[in-house]
Amino acid sequence: MSTILLIEQILNGLQFGVMLFLMAAGLTLIFGVMGLINLAHGSLYMIGAFAAAAVAGWSGNFLLALIASLIAAAIFGVIVEMTVIRRLYKRDHLDQVLATFALILIFSEATRWTFGSFPLFLDIPAVLKGTVILPGGIEYSLYRLTIILIGLAVALGLYLLISKTRVGMRIRAGENDREMIGALGVDISVLYTMVFALGAALAGLSGALVGAIQSVEVGMGEPVLILAFVVIVIGGIGSIRGALAGAILVGLTDTLGRTLLPVLFSSFMDGSAATTVGSALASMLIYILMAGVLIFKPTGLFGSA
């Protein structure tokens, strides 16, 4: 395996990781502040992708499509929070799981009803097509590189928002003591709606960005949702830093595992068997990683007990 190919795969892993981070950050924020497990987060990812595909198809402008994904996901987030999610904060986790599972059914079928069962396609904008030459002579897809940069920029923005602004201060206060911040005169229900909308917008953006590399279809959100759960379990629940570390770890492990394991197995097995065993094991690798973290640190890498 050449170094160039390896570096390319590392970049792919990083790109996968930052997209997972956008999902995991919203989930972990919503859990940290409101104590809610939201299975419908994958639906918001799907809504973002569909909104982007629809607007791109109509206007041909990718930037407009991205903005549409943010707005659509945030609006649906606000509607869902105010009608359903709000009633669940005080319920136990089982109720939260079932209600948000019901939301997945509703959103998925409603999307199928509106857009049909066939996948939509979102084109990479012309400016971002093609490849760039990175230092060291590595050729890499410009669009994927842009995704990495957007993801890192969002991570930085989220860090600044939470640690430097007044809203961020309230979010942190909400994580520490929900009742106290209410008693101090902060309108807690507005704060909750805002946090939910923020998480939803991040999921929508992630769906739109990934939608341009994969196809936009019903059910695209749930596999990503489950991976985001793995990220959160590894990183520690409620921790944005943990979500970033976990997401990059999962992204790299998955991508590199799929490339390297078949090669590794072929050093002592014959070709086709090595590919079979290697790729089957690679599909399980991140869950094995999760199991490892659970054995040594059940609360996750950055979680507190």
């Binding site: 079932l98 209600a99 059914l105 759960f229 379990v233 629940i237 599909s283």
Partner: protein
């Protein structure tokens, strides 16, 4: 309002009456629907032991359902191709005998539940939900990427497996087998719930600290419950595979885990017959709403949402007097 015990007998009678009527009227499709309901009920009874009695919200029970299904698929496909599973120092052959398949399905899904449970029970609350969901998904991807047993396409079994003395291809006889198993398992779970083990499990659900204080090893207790729960769901998986004569990775998918959970919530959490009612109602909804609209999941979602938000206790909770309590 009637007593829950009386209600349970009514439910069992209905569950026999529908296929019996269909048999008389010569409607094999209805018998197959009833068989599906019975098998789903069995899977739900398994999950209900962990979720209802133990308070362990497992979102990964599709792993055991699929394990049971593949136990049947692998054994039967080797038998149908006359191809031994293992031919070395000793010989392991496939089989088309249902009782043998059931034993293998129960043992293999119990072992899987032991492994997943031992890891997942190190966490609790929302972590537990996410971890079980993730492990379930792991087997889904494994089943897709492992080509030996059909990979993504799954495995077809051409002839239903055999049960001594019965013609399993006759819908009413296969229904009888599934129904008998469901009754035996319900009897077993009822005894289990009333045993010191079941009481301790429920006690640890309601107040973990108190259970610890009186000297109960909560982790071990829950692990045993989780293993039994997985084994029952695995048995249901083997029957489901036999009903369809087909297994595919879909049996491992997270949506199946969600559906098994829906049976419980529709019927009533921690009620012995909750999953039975829930599964029957689910099949009815699927049949009638599915006939009305291709998008019946919207209605199912709305009903489920309404149940969770406004009707705690499920259908049995609405119909029966308050005599069993479950921890909240």
């Amino acid at each position: 309002m009637i007593r829950e015990g009386t209600l349970n007998i009514v439910i069992l009678c209905l569950l026999v009456a529908v296929p019996a009527y269909a048999y008389v009227m010569n409607e094999p499709f209805t018998i197959t629907l009833a068989t599906r309901a019975v098998i789903f009920a069995l899977a739900g009874v398994g999950l209900n032991l962990a979720l209802g009695q133990g308070g362990l919200v497992s979102f990964g029970h599709a792993a055991y359902f699929g394990m049971g299904g593949y136990a049947m698929g692998i054994l039967a496909s080797h038998a149908q191709n006359y191809d031994p599973i293992f031919d070395g120092a000793f010989l392991i052959e496939g089989t088309n005998s249902m009782p043998v398949i059931w034993v293998v399905a129960v043992v293999s899904s119990a072992l899987l539940a032991l492994l997943i449970g031992a890891l997942s029970l190190r966490t609790s609350g929302v972590y537990f939900i996410m971890v079980t969901l993730a492990f379930g998904q792991m087997f889904y991807y494994f089943a897709i990427s492992w080509p030996a047993y059909g990979g993504e396409d799954g495995l077809s079994i051409y002839v239903r497996n055999q049960f001594p003395g019965l013609n399993t291809l006759d819908p009413i006889q296969f229904f009888g087998i599934c129904f008998a198993i469901l009754c035996l398992v319900l009897l077993f779970v009822d005894r289990l719930n009333k045993s010191p083990f079941g009481l301790a499990l429920n006690g640890a659900h309601q107040n973990e600290e108190r259970a610890r204080t009186v000297g109960i090893n909560v982790y071990k207790l829950r692990l045993v419950a989780f293993v039994i729960s997985g084994a029952i769901t695995g048995l249901a998986g083997a029957l489901f595979a036999d009903l369809n004569r087909f297994v595919s990775p879909t049996m491992f998918s997270w949506a199946i885990s969600g559906e098994i959970m829906i049976f419980i919530i529709l019927g009533g959490v921690a009620r012995l017959f909750g999953p039975v009612v829930g599964a029957a109602v689910y099949i009815l909804l699927e049949h009638f709403l599915g006939g009305l609209s291709d998008y019946w999941f919207i209605y199912l979602g709305a009903i489920l949402l309404g149940m969770v938000l406004f009707a705690k206790g499920g259908i049995i909770g609405k119909l029966a007097k308050k005599e069993t309590h479950h921890g909240g």
